[in-house]
Symmetry: C3
Subunit: 315 residues, 3 copies
């Protein structure tokens, strides 16, 4: 994420009361996680095993909790807690500005697209052609929306990731630098929430249809032509492959993969990756036929209690 | 659903590149499913068993995938995929228009009704007397609301049905032509979503109370004096009779009936019709006392494993 | 809750067609439940065991279903149904007024706080410093928000309690007189709903973080530094102590306590109070390790059915 204007090393370091090495007038133009940095960016490193990676990255400035020499062409900011100071800079320089207009003048909206009253469109949003954005939808900054997309009323695209670091005194939020990408021919129901990536992208693939009141968390990637029913909740960093169907109120835990063509029945709770082209049910989830068998077996416990051993040995 | 103005047969058929039989200047005034057509409407038929019904219906124009003779007083449009072409016409002629004002001038609002800021009211909406519509509510076109109704902030009434036909290349949406009817004395909490019918009506009966974040899908009919707690999700075409109570996070599958006076405990998953005046629990749902018994029996499995046969034969 | 202007005894009593005793010009300045009354208020009593409490309370006017003498300095209104008539007065004199402006002029907003477009702020709302209120948020009257609070788009703070009295003819709503208090450093995700107290306060404690689409009902008190994941639903009058973590889609029944530091895994259903510093799972909830053991035991039923007695007696 680039700053709105470059800041000098002196300016940034003084803002967080930190010592630094390098030219005080050195200009820093953006801020990013170590995995996403490019020239001009400031990043942070707080663990020994990443020192070398950070010092050799494209980053021009590094917040670091070790006194090392300034590498050629780079500047350093010394901190006892680089995570905290990285966030301080993010929150000072990237934090949401008051937007006076409902639709930012920096957004781009394609031909034939209808924006109904009460819609908020943040900075640098791009919306394609022939889309329909229903009333009271909120689209946060930097969101990218393709062509022929329909978003129903009240849905929120691009709110912050729910991502905190536990501290002795409470939770520290990692500022979200990512965005949401919605591909062509997607339809999203009413009052859904699709969060931006922490440093990457949350993606809804081409032709996928979402019902109402669905949660899609940060950095989750949903494939093409999926069908997601109402009140499904999908945690962060999930990968859902193409042609998956999730029925109502399914919950999906973070950091897992649901294979192509899988079907998950209503209210299931998914806590591990699932192979494609199978049908699943239960919380925790199992293959549906196995779950149904177990439900039938539970009904035979009275028989066991009565007879010690069942009369007929059919399992 | 009537068009905003009549279209000629020639105009509609050329818009979808289709051949036709009948007077090119024949005027068509609306579009509807075969179950709902009246004189002046265009409808579609794509299966042999409905040809006769369509050709003898009140429809004035029929999109059909068989070359038949033009019936007296009717016109025909020939198509290899009538579903697709029906939708094409719907989406061209019924599709949402940009509404510049937050409250459509074609809506009617009764005496004593309060509409708070940020509310969107679409075309031809009728709201009765002494209602309270809280901020940022969205009410789609054609919704009918009775007297003494309260709708809390952020709720969305009348978004499209989640209803798609699977094609080789993705999902085709059936354009929703229905509406929502909310009867007198209903209260709806915040951030709920109540979808319009596909071709019929979604109804919330007199005196029924909904908590927050509830989903009611297309064509579902809820009776009088029901109590629906927070985060309940009800799929499409469900019939809920009078005096039913659904506690929090219950899920209801489509096309079933919940009998008068039934009570369903929290987080239950309803996959079959339920008799009235009983208490239910579980996912999948059972009578609550049976479910509770099963939960107790599961706790006796260690005893069985230890003894082979339980010491006391109490089930 | 105080009226906007005082009403005379005659005026209030005639509005509900009730007899009264006392000076017809006696002025009544507010309305409250018996537990919250102060001088100038009207309250109600409809049960023998509270007559004495009401007649000796600070209330200046009492709606009562028993013909008693007028106590010194007080006035009485006689009613066959004091609950009904209390509500009638509340709804006439406290009912929401049409607010023409999106942000009430009676609200107070601290330095550095950003209010984005489409936000509604009701009467007497107080918001602290350096808060960020994202687009299309609705904040009902009397809500108190601390410093450094972030509320994401579409969230609704302070809608009415879901609280009804069953009558032969339907449900009677008890008018909510309470409010919501959000302490410093709280973050609330998108499209959440946090209801006001019936007569007390719904509180979100300092440093607590809520994800998206979460329901918090009336009079519930959440402690400090809790983490509540997406789609959790918490019923009314619940007490959640500090440092509790509730994962996604957990449901919490009313009137119970979750102890400090408890962790509840996703989709659990909490129907009883939980001790702190333990991990829980299931619907109905158990300690997670016990629940996991039961899930494993169910898988051994086929073995029991086959052998009558398991080969190895490991439980």
């Amino acid at each position: 994420m680039k700053f709105n204007k470059p800041y000098t090393l002196k300016n940034l370091a003084e803002g967080i009361n930190a010592e630094f090495c390098g030219d005080p007038e050195f200009e820093i133009s953006g801020i990013n996680e170590i995995h996403k940095v490019s020239v001009g960016d400031i990043t942070f490193v707080d663990h020994e095993k990443y020192y070398s990676k950070a010092l050799n990255s494209e980053a021009s400035a590094i917040i670091i909790n070790k006194k090392v020499d300034c590498p050629a062409g780079k500047v350093l900011v010394f901190s006892d807690d680089p995570f905290r100071d990285f966030n301080r800079i993010s929150s000072k320089h990237l934090s949401v500005k008051k937007q006076d207009e409902q639709i930012s003048l920096s957004s781009k909206i394609g031909l034939g697209t209808i924006i109904q009253p009460g819609v908020f469109i943040g900075e640098n949003v791009v919306i394609g052609e022939n889309c329909l954005i229903q009333p009271n939808v909120t689209i946060y900054e930097n969101t990218i929306i393709g062509n022929n997309v329909c978003i129903h009323a009240g849905t929120v695209i691009g709110a912050d990731a729910f991502y905190y670091k536990r501290r002795a005194t409470g939770y520290d939020k990692l500022i979200s630098c990512g965005r949401v990408i919605i591909e062509d021919d997607v339809e999203i129901g009413a009052n859904c929430t699709i969060d931006k990536g922490v440093s990457g992208e949350t993606i809804i693939g081409k032709g996928t249809k979402l019902d109402n009141l669905i949660q899609v968390a940060h950095d989750t990637v949903i494939g093409k032509n999926c069908l997601i029913a109402s009140q499904v909740g999908i945690a962060g960093c999930v990968k859902i492959e193409d042609d998956v169907i999730l029925w109502g109120q399914v919950g999906v835990q973070k950091d897992l993969t649901i294979g192509k063509g899988a079907i998950v029945l209503g209210q299931s709770g998914i806590s591990k990756s699932l192979e494609g082209n199978k049908v699943y049910f239960g919380s925790p989830v199992q293959e549906a036929k196995q779950k149904m068998k177990e439900l039938a077996l539970i009904k035979r416990i009275p028989e066991i209690l009565k007879n010690g051993k069942p009369e007929k040995l059919k399992t």
